[in-house]
Amino acid sequence: MNRRSLLGGASLAATGALAVHETSRHRVPDRRRPMSRVAILRCESYKRAAQVVWDGIQLLEPQVAGKHVLLKPNLVEYSPSASINTHPIVIAATADAFYSLGALKVLVGDGPGHVRDSELVLEESGLRDALRSVGRLRFIDLNFDRVRAVRTQTSLTNLKELWLPQSVLAADVVVSMPKVKTHHWAGVTLSLKNLFGVVPGSVYGWPKNILHWQGIDNSIVELAATVSVHYVIADGIEAMEGNGPLHGPARHLGCLVFADDPVAADSACCSLMDVDPHCIRHLAKASSLGNLDPRRWELLGDRIASLRQTFQPPPMMTFARVGSSTPEARGRSAP
């Protein structure tokens, strides 16, 4: 063996080792089930939302009897002119439904990203009064909850551990309840991006800027791999397009989305917004955490195609539309 072949072999081995290292470093756990349940129910106004929430939850057949349930809405900040937060009626109806199904305790918890005063957001958004109307329902500000360190499940970020709120870690069932919106950094903000709200501001600050510096897509996937979301109830009655998550115009999508798989839920919501889910980076990266592919959904309720609307993308961003990217994607597009 001469020196040239020795050097060539060594560099080939080094490249291979680096490739293997990088592949394993970025590996996301495979949590796909054979089938996920997704239900999309038409709901033209919030006046009907309580009944539709009950119908949708029954389709999911959640096992919550005797369990502690945490509802994680999307509570950012209040603006009378923008459709920013998960609607209080949807949250209250969900809590009511879970109590009716035998849940031992239901908590509503969120840690707003820019606002330290959740009392002000609860008051102005109407959520405080909605929670009172249900009774037995407490709001936990996850920004100020007691915290515990949890090892991260991937190495997508440099964070070896995440400090997470006890209320999230202690819950038997976590329900992510996003508002269907576009997002100027992440493309869309749905059940996975909604997990930014479980990261405590008391440790990481307002906003949770460390997650942006670790890469927003990687941080979303890291959180999704670390925090189990059991169900999703997405508020798509009044959604947001364009410059979301705060300043985009409202878009009346007229539906609620229910799922037992956050990846499937987000994929379905993308399809409703006429956004190819495979082109949303964090969703593509999280594809082993659930079923992105609609062929692995048990789809209940309305057909996506009957409700789909073309949402405007955020500034400086374009969306690949459903069925427009590749022949393979067209074959996979949701019914």
Binding site: E77, S79, H114, V115, R116, D117, E119, L120, E123, E124, D141, F144, R146, V147, A149, W163, H184, P200, S202, V203, Y204, G205, W206, P207, N209, I210, H212, W213, N243, L246, H247, P314, P315, M316
Partner: protein, 282 residues
């Protein structure tokens, strides 16, 4: 004031889980209890304080809050070593945009968020950019300990640069993606207290922040924001009277369920006159 006594009773019974809670509760109870041992014990070897107790990430906001509390609680000589260490850490900690590489990035490649990168302050935690709350509190901490530092000037200029066009301060920027952002009451109050502590009283950003804060909470019962507003507008007798009445009503609604931070701030704001965070008894 009778109800303030009840707030203090409630605070005495509270366990604390963060430096912010510990510092504010200690400040609220300073008339009867000046034990700072828990604050000293939770200081990290680097000099900073974490926020959540038991964690080890130094945090500029809680470090500044601890320094402000120590200034009001202690004979300054007793705290000298801890305080010097803490200011050493604060001096070394800067928003990421303070580094030439990131300044270059924000100036030439990333214009989605608008701010002058030469004007930077303090981040919440290391490895992130400057934000209003930690910068304002770090400025107050420097002023209350009478620590001259070029960082104070720079922090002030950052606050002035990032004031919202409609008055007050958002979390960190005045504009993102071409949209003017709106202010938040607590960050506005912190910014106002910080600038006034440096003698900035007549700047248009100060005037418009006062206007914003005077009107923003007209119908609110949110304890935490009302208390910060009262601490910031303590020199305006009319606003003190209005905000005091609303704050009292807010606390009485459900004092037992209020977070410790909100209760402690309410106790400080309901002092007569409201506590001046920037001045300590000599």
């Amino acid at each position: 004031m009778l109800y303030r006594r009840e707030i203090l009773n409630a605070l005495r019974a509270r366990a604390v889980g963060s430096i912010e809670e510990l510092a504010l509760r200690s400040l609220a109870l300073r008339g009867e209890w000046r034990d700072c041992s828990q604050l000293f014990e939770s200081q990290l070897p680097c000099g900073g304080w974490p926020n959540a107790l038991g964690t080890s990430e130094p945090n500029a906001y809680s470090t500044s809050m601890a320094l402000i509390a120590l200034a009001h609680l202690r004979d300054r000589r007793d705290a000298r070593a801890a305080v010097n260490l803490a200011f050493g850490w604060l001096d070394e900690t800067a928003g990421r945009e303070g580094h030439w590489l990131w300044r270059w990035k924000f100036r030439w490649f990333d214009r989605r968020v608008k701010f002058d990168t030469s004007k930077y302050g303090w981040p919440w935690i290391d490895g992130t950019v400057s934000w209003v709350a930690p910068t304002a509190l770090a400025v107050i901490a420097h002023r209350v300990w009478k620590r001259p530092s070029p960082r104070v000037e720079r922090g002030m200029s950052m606050l002035l640069d990032r004031a919202c066009s409609s008055g007050g301060w958002n979390a960190g920027n005045s504009e993102a993606f071409g949209v003017s952002l709106t202010a938040h009451p607590d960050f506005t109050a912190m910014g106002l207290i910080a600038l006034r502590s440096c003698g900035v009283h007549a700047h248009p950003a100060v005037r418009s922040a006062e206007d914003y804060l005077s009107s923003r909470l007209a119908a609110s019962e949110a304890t935490y924001s009302l208390a910060w507003a009262l601490l910031a507008l303590r020199n305006n007798p009319k606003m003190v009277s209005t905000l005091r009445a609303r704050l009292l009503k807010s606390v009485k609604l459900d004092a037992g369920a209020k977070p410790t931070i909100s209760l402690a701030l309410a106790a400080l704001a309901l002092e007569d006159p409201p506590l001046d965070l920037t001045e300590t008894p000599q």
